[in-house]
Structures are given as structure tokens and as C-alpha cells.
Amino acid sequence: MTEIPESLLRRSAEAKAKALGLPVEQVLAEMKGEAPPTPPPSEPEPAVQAEGSVAEEMEESAERSAEIEEAVESVDDDPAPAEETAVEPGAEAEPEIVAETEADVPPAAPTEAPPAPTPEGDGGVVSSPEGEGDAEDDGGDVSSPEGEGDAEDDGGVVSSPQGEGDAEDDGGVVSSEDEPAHETEVEPAAAAVATAVEDRPAPAGDGDGAGSGNGAGNGKVASVVSTRPTVPPKGTPEGVRTQRLLTVVKARAIQTVKAEPTDKVNTWPHLMLMEFGALLAITGLLVIMSVVIHSPLLEPANFNATPNPSKAPWYFLGLQELLSYFDPQIAGVTIPTITGFIGFWIIPYVDKNPSTRPSDRKFAIALYSVFLAGAATLTIFGVLFRGLGFNWAYPWQDGIFFDDLRDWVQFE
């Protein structure tokens, strides 16, 4: 078990303390295992029955977690909050980690998780255990133990166990749909628990995915356990909320954990504002352009009167320019086929250089720049420097032979 960073613990402790109304220090000590767990305040909750009520339950849990969430999210706008943090679970289940995501649960509970009946996460928490799992949570913060799989959840948190599992759920319910329950069982001893730092159970809370859940675990789900089993485990005292388990994964699945903290901002309003600005700008530009410049409309089509010169649309003029240099078999076929069809498609498979830093990929950048410059030059030649008979012409001497802009600047 790796050491959980103090700051992380504190953050969770603060959230938990706020939710429970306990002093922060006490909760923190409890989390570190230095103090006996405080019995949660009993809060009578009707036993939740089966599927129908999952949505309801999510709604409720969303509300309950609102404060926690806000407490945690208040650091969001700091320049580099450790938003995504990975916790490396050891071979044994770590009660504390799980507990920190659930405000009112006895810490010892997670070990009870495996018998949970169905793979229904209710509101879900993430963990993307094996291989390239890269849990991404749009709504909250997630632990992303390793690599690049992509578990994504708009609302809550998701589990994307074992590499290719790619679970997405907007409503927050995630499960492996095709997975019979027995396959999701995990040997308790070998179970490790990975947790999300922030618990945001299904803010959507609308039952979108309730019931069946729509995560796609690719049949490799180690296990996603009902975070609040519909039937409380035996021996649970009356009124005590059962554990919200995040996910249980096989211990050996997690060898190294690497997750860089990512600096994120809310799409609303930050990105949306930018996009709206861009949208207005382009609309304005287009309207102004359309008022000022008229679309060309020449004489009616006449098969017997070939205009001189005949030019293709501007984006094909580079090609037409090439045709005037080379044999059609070369210009019309070989070059565009190589650059356009094959060249572009295979770029990502040919370029094996993993770096995206410009200094590491000088050759690629140079090559593309040459292509760009070449295409631009040819197009400009074709548009401006080709006159009668598609022969070379200087626009300042012979005029511009480009009918698209024949009515250039005509005010109404």
C-alpha cells in the first residue's frame, strides 16, 4: 500500500467531516487508522428494492453528496490542483480509501463487497484497474491507475477494468451489461480497491442508465459491485447504510500506478464561452462577406462555348496546375493518389515517433510544411497566374482569370 498523500487525505477528511458534522482532525485521524471509527449517525433509510428505485437512489445520493462535492470542487480553479490522483492499492483491501469517498459508512465495510449481487454501480466510482485503463470522469475526479484505456463518465464515475474496457455512462450507472453476476465475483483476499478521490455519485440522477446500466466492460470486467447493494449484507445493523463500494479489482492487476494530475476547467462556462465567441465571429464574418461579395453567376451553361481558360474549383486548381506540368498519368493520378489518398491516411501508422514535441519531430513537420507550401503555391499559381489557354499570365498585366471572384466587391 502506497502512502496516500497527506493533502489528499485531508481533503477527503474535510469533505467527510462537513457531511457528518464532525471535527476535521477527528475524521482525519480516523482515516489514518489512528482513531477508532466513529459510528455513523443512524439515518433511517428505506431498504432499496431492486431496479426500479435505482434512479431514485441515485438522485438522493447525488443530493447528499452535493456538499462533499462542493467542498472538494472548491479547489478546482487553482492552477494545478491534484485533481486526478491515483491511489495504488496494495494486495489487501484498504478500508480507509474506500471510506473516504463515502461520508457515512463504517470503514470496515468494503471487504463485504464481493458478494454483491449484480454488477450495477449506482452512481459509480471509478477505477480502471488493469493495463491501460485511463479513467476519465467528466464530472468529477477520478483515479486513473494506469495508462490509456478510457473510462469515461459524464455524471459519475466509472469503472473500466482491464484495459480495453471502455465504460461510459451519462447517468452514472455503470456495469458490464453482458456480464453474468458470477463472473464479476472477486476473491476477497485478492481484492484490492481502487478509489476515486472525489465521490460524485451520479449527479444526473435521472435514471438514464438506471436499471440495466450501459457500461461496456468488454466482458473483462473484474468486478463492479453495486455500490449500495439492494439487499444489505447480513449482520448489518438496522439503519446503518451499507458500503458504497467503488470497484474491486484483482490485486495483481495493479503493479505500477501512474497518473499525472491534469489541470481541468469546467466546460461551462469556460469552453462554451470561447466556442460561442468563435461561432459569433464566423457568422459575422460570413454575413459581412455575403453582403459585400456576390456569388458569381455567369451566362447559362452552354456546351458549345468552352470558356477560356476553363478552371476547376480553387481547391482543385493546384491539381490542375500540376496537370499543366506533367503527364496526366503522373499529375492526375500518381501525385494526388500518393499525397492525398494514401499519404494522409497512413500518416499515423508510418510516423512511429511517439513524441508530440516539435523539437522531436523536425522531419515530420518539415515534410508537412513542404507539402503545405507546395499545395499553396500551386493553388495560387492556378488561381492567379494562369490566363488564356491556362498559360502563364501575370495578374497585374493580364488580369485575373478567376471567375469565382469576378464580382469581387460589389456593394448593394
Binding site: A66, E70, E73, S74, D76, D134, E136, D138, D150, D154, D170, A204, D206, D263, K264, V265, N266, T267, W268, H270, L271, M272, A278, L279, I282, L286, M289, V291, I293, P296, L297, E299, P300, A301, T306, P307, S310, K311, A312, P313, W314, Y315, Q320, P328, Q329, G332, V333, G340, F344, I347, P348, N353, S355, T356, R357, P358, R361, A364, Y368, D404
Partner: protein
């Protein structure tokens, strides 16, 4: 609600009406939680998330994006602008379809009438044409931006391929629309363009024949280009667009900074 003289002020009445409107059952049923228009909306982290995930359009986006992705200088919004131009082109294109008949006899007259007799006809046609050119440009620039950022590298290889398909579809859309005015420019630009397609080895002539519905541009070509332009290509494009957007999210959102 009464002010000093026992009458209700206009400001108060507006406020009341507003409350009634946005608090009504109808408004409540339309607006999902987190909508900024919903009564009692407050700016909280939770509502900021709701805004995005409870709206069918915004939902294309994740709730949170990497901070560098928000910077204008990173993407220049080129992909988004391409998509937005596509939407603008769809809207203006639908408008134009009301006034256009794809036949060699009437097409030219329709365009003339559109530019002179129809309210805003000229403006809409200009927007459609210039918007199309801008879209070709923005898609191409978007591709260049992606290349320079190395954003096609794993795990985004496939999305690059989809993007290249989208570029070709954009070119095809633009090219097929080029013929529709049925003037000299349209006729001969398409003749030159399809002649180039004829140079493709093996299948060149077949491709050309299929495009032109014959060996040279004719009235049948006009109908063919029209159907391709207003239905077939947009249909295919939308499918690829969906995959493209979906993969952007699946592949881990916007690529990292340089």
C-alpha cells in the same frame, strides 16, 4: 406587489410574469436540472456540470476539459468552426432547396430568380457559397493544426483517418454543389474536375461515368450531383462526424500541449 400609489409597477409586472413563465410546469418540464434558465439556477460546480451533461447538444463535450484546450491559440476552434459551418450550410441549403429545381431547363432561371425575387435570397445564396469555401479552408487548416500538434498519434490514429475521410467528403460536397447553378462556371469547372477523375488508373473512367451519369456533363449529371449534394454526401458526412466526435472523447479528449 403594490408600490406607493397602489398600482403595480411595470418592472414588477415583468418580474412577476418572468417568474410565472420560468416557474411554470411547462418550463419546468422542458428545462433539465442545471439549465441556466431554470428557476433558482445558481452558479455552483454541480450546476456547471449539469449544464453540460443535461443538454443534448452540449453533451458532445465532457463536463471538464483540459485547461490548455480552452486557450484560443491551441486549436483556434478550427474543428468546431468546421462543424458550425456545416450546420450553417445545412440551414442555408435547406432555404435554397425551396427555390431550386435540379433540371437543366430551369436550374439557371431558378438561381436568377433566387438572387432577385426572393427575400434574402441573394444573401442566403452568398452565405451558402462563401460558407462552403470557408468550410473547405477550415477543415484543411484543422487538419494541419492536428498534424502540427502531433494529435494523430496513438491512441488517435483512427480518428485521423476518419478526419481525412471527412476532408474528402467536404471536398466532394463542395464540388457537387459547384454544378448546381448551371452556368458556364459550374459547367466547365465540373467538366475539368471530372476529367481529372478520369485519369485515375483502372477505375478512372468508371468513376467518371458514375459521377456524370454519362460520358459528359448533362442534365442527368445535374440531377445526380443534386442528390449527392443535398442528401447522399451530407448523410455520409454526418455518420463520420458522429464517429469523429465520439472518438475525440473516447481517445482521451483534446490532445496534450506540445
Amino acid at each position: 406587489m403594490a408600490n406607493g400609489n397602489g398600482k403595480t409597477g411595470i418592472g414588477e409586472r415583468i418580474k412577476e410574469a418572468n417568474e410565472k413563465l420560468w416557474g411554470s410546469q411547462v418550463a419546468e418540464s422542458i428545462l433539465r436540472p442545471g439549465s441556466p434558465f431554470k428557476k433558482g439556477y445558481s452558479d455552483s460546480p454541480r450546476n456547471r456540470s449539469y449544464v453540460v451533461m443535461n443538454n443534448v447538444l452540449y453533451h458532445l463535450h465532457p463536463v471538464k476539459v483540459k485547461r490548455h484546450g480552452v486557450k484560443l491559440s491551441y486549436t483556434l476552434c478550427l474543428g468546431g468552426l468546421s462543424f458550425f459551418l456545416f450546420i450553417l450550410l445545412t440551414i442555408t441549403g435547406i432555404f435554397l432547396m425551396f427555390y431550386y429545381t435540379p433540371s437543366a431547363e430551369t436550374a439557371y432561371a431558378d438561381i436568377e430568380a433566387l438572387s432577385t425575387n426572393v427575400a434574402f435570397g441573394s444573401l442566403v445564396r452568398n452565405m451558402h457559397r462563401w460558407g462552403a469555401h470557408l468550410m473547405v479552408l477550415s477543415v484543411f487548416l484543422h487538419m494541419s493544426r492536428v498534424f502540427y500538434h502531433g494529435a494523430y498519434k496513438p491512441p488517435r490514429e483512427f480518428n485521423w483517418v476518419v478526419g481525412v475521410v471527412l476532408l474528402f467528403l467536404t471536398l466532394l460536397l463542395s464540388f457537387s454543389g459547384y454544378l448546381l447553378p448551371w452556368d458556364q462556371l459550374a459547367l466547365w469547372a465540373v467538366t475539368v474536375g471530372t476529367n481529372m477523375a478520369g485519369f485515375v488508373p483502372v477505375v478512372g473512367n468508371e468513376v467518371k461515368f458514375a459521377l456524370l451519369a454519362g460520358v459528359e456533363v448533362s442534365g442527368a449529371t445535374l440531377l445526380r450531383f443534386y442528390v449527392l449534394h443535398v442528401l447522399a454526401f451530407p448523410f455520409i458526412l454526418v455518420i463520420f462526424l458522429a464517429v469523429h466526435f465520439w472518438r475525440v472523447r473516447k481517445d482521451g479528449g483534446i490532445s496534450g500541449p506540445l
